[in-house]
Amino acid sequence: MPELIKVRPTKIELVKLKRRLSLAQRVQKIVKDRLSILTMEFLQTARDTVEAKRKLLDELSKLYKALSVAAGYHGYIALEKELIATEVDLKVTAGLGNVAGVRIPSFELMGNTKPMRGYNLVDTSSWLDRAAQLSEEWLRAIVELAELQRNFELLAMEINRTKRITNALEYIVIPRLQATIHYLKMKFEERDREEKARLKRVKVLVARG
């Protein structure tokens, strides 16, 4: 039997409790909806994170291979000389988005679509072009992964919190309110019965008297 809420056994309290119960039930529905949406988003983010990680590692291994070939072709010193010119400031736009009440970060690589192509095209080979192209893709992948990873953590935390609220509503708040309402109703019925019995007794006494 759930614990009773400490209230005065009056009709006003009963009305108040009924209102609270209806509010709690509405909130429960909204919270459950929110939980299902958060879970859906979480699963999607988890899938995307795995995919992004796999892509990142693939691209990294391809990039190392391409860079090794380019280094072999040009030699380390020449390659380093060319790559000094490619140093550019990368711009990442960071903002916030909202998923069912959770503030999640959003990152996007901005500006130049080819940030790694600052070297001399005449003195370099297509091997370096390939390495540059792969490093650009890798940069995008790492920004994407950073966003997904953080979203994943934030959604997980929010799901935990929402689950606790849902459970509290389902197993504590609503049963307590229902039990108290039931108790108050029984109490009022009992009072009515007592009143009737008292009136009958008075009637008998009056008739005798």
């Binding site: 009773l4 529905k29 909204i30 903002g95 959003s106």
Partner: protein, 152 residues
């Protein structure tokens, strides 16, 4: 049978906290709604495309998403498309509804889901698995609305 509870009148701190928590929860779910929507054409011209939310924070759109949207509709439709698109969640847990103003949303959702959809009473109704697909394509250009009217 539990003991009668006539003496205590005041609400316990736990109960009070719970009430605050519940009302806070209602505030949280729709805090991220935009104060007003912006047209796609206007957002494409902004350096940092964003809208201001009800709680005063900003909701940033990804340029790549806006460009994708612009690529699937023509210029007149870009001027008519309000963003972010609102996805309404209500009583029926298996369904969601996209609030739409005209035919543009219909066209976009049809293309994104690769199936025909119809707009009835300013709503395009889709199922939850389709919602996941839609959200995957339009992460920043869609937001959820929890409608207490529909929940009641």
């Amino acid at each position: 049978m539990p003991k009668p509870l006539q003496d205590e009148v005041k609400q316990s701190p736990y109960e009070r906290m719970l009430q605050e928590c519940l009302s806070g929860e209602l505030r949280i779910v729709n805090a991220g709604l935009p104060q007003s929507q912006k047209r796609l054409a206007a957002l494409l011209n902004e350096k940092y495309p964003h809208v201001v939310c009800n709680d005063g924070s900003t909701h940033l759109f990804k340029k790549s998403e806006l460009e994708y949207l612009a690529s699937i509709i023509d210029t007149d439709e870009q001027k008519a498309l309000p963003l972010p698109m609102l996805i309404e969640l209500g009583a029926n847990q298996a369904e969601a509804a996209i609030i739409c103003e005209g035919k543009v949303e219909e066209k976009i959702i049809s293309k994104a889901l690769n199936m025909p959809v119809t707009c009835e009473e300013r709503r395009i109704r889709i199922y939850k698995p389709q919602l996941a697909l839609l959200r995957r394509k339009f992460k920043t250009t869609t937001v959820y609305v929890f409608s207490p009217k529909m929940v009641a």
